[in-house]
């Protein structure tokens, strides 16, 4: 039923029809290019999470993906594009029953991962920000920043159990 659905298009959001991958599983690829606003971000998060649930992800994996996706998009919009609505955030999500791979790229100035302070130290514990990256890296199985910090690729396998601790 998912395959017959028409593709809602609008506000730069695009959706691709699924193509079977070599193992015979149906791989859904969703692609979006959105402006830097939270309402649109919310909408595409819902579309991606609907697909994650449809592919049979279990509780802990759904929780992990939802959290990392929210954090990564908030970072791209707020810290990357600095809420500049003229700048786009590109999002790609590839979902199979086994894993989700998400790529998020913003048009901001980038950042150096090693320069982000540890939010769990005593001195930083009462700061109101700076925890997004920690959560992304804790809850996803693979996380890679590239293009000067503007591009984030993250993978989470669909597995029961607590998040893998790095």
């Amino acid at each position: 039923m998912g395959m017959a659905r028409s593709n809602p298009r609008g506000r730069g959001e695009r959706r691709r029809t699924p193509a079977p991958n070599p193992t015979g599983q149906v791989k859904h690829k969703l692609r979006f290019a959105i402006g830097s606003d939270f309402a649109t971000s919310c909408r595409i998060q819902k579309q991606i999470m609907d697909e994650v649930i449809r592919q049979g992800f279990t509780g802990p994996s759904i929780f992990a993906v939802r959290l990392a996706l929210e954090e990564a998009l908030a970072n791209a919009i707020k810290h990357g594009n600095r809420l500049d609505r003229g700048k786009k955030v590109r999002v790609e999500a590839e979902v199979t029953p086994r894993q989700i791979r998400i790529v998020i790229e913003d048009e901001g100035g980038g950042f150096e991962r090693s320069s982000v302070p540890d939010p769990t130290t005593r001195a930083n514990l009462e700061k109101t920000g700076g925890r997004g990256i920690l959560l992304i890296e804790t809850y996803m199985d693979k996380v890679r920043w590239s293009r000067g910090g503007r591009r984030l690729e993250m993978i989470r396998r669909n597995a029961d159990g607590p998040p893998l601790r790095g």
Binding site: F63, P119, L125, T128, R131, G132, T138
Partner: protein
């Protein structure tokens, strides 16, 4: 509150036990910025209205929260401390509690397993 009419669109419901304000989140997600800003304003208003503020946040309905929500809670905690008030958190589900542990915020906030224990932990 005041007039006894429940505001159906409010992201929190507030009840009182003596001078303790008990806040229950009505939404199962405290994720997105607009929602968090609204909750933050409501909670800050409660802190302003009560001297000293004594707040108990009940997370029984909450299945998801983001780092922005944690930031809002830290902001609230700082404000309450400034006013010599007290803040307690309770009924936090395991998955959410894990987020507090990962961020070490379980050391910053006073988290109690249930409402009764949280209520009795307020100091006079």
């Amino acid at each position: 509150m005041g007039n006894g009419m429940a505001d159906m669109t409010s992201p929190v419901s507030v009840t009182s036990q003596q001078d303790i304000r008990i806040v229950e989140f009505t939404n199962n997600k405290i994720l997105d910025e607009a929602n968090i800003a609204e909750i933050g304003q409501t909670l800050m208003a409660l802190v302003e209205e009560n001297n000293p503020p004594r707040l108990l946040l009940d997370f029984a309905n909450v299945d998801h929260l983001s780092s922005a929500a944690l930031g809002m809670l830290i902001n609230l905690n700082n404000k309450i401390k400034q006013k010599d008030g007290q803040l307690r958190l309770t009924n936090i589900k395991q998955q959410i509690y894990e987020v507090f542990v990962i961020t070490k915020l379980d050391r910053l906030f006073r988290i109690k397993p249930d409402r009764a224990e949280a209520l009795s932990s307020f100091e006079h």
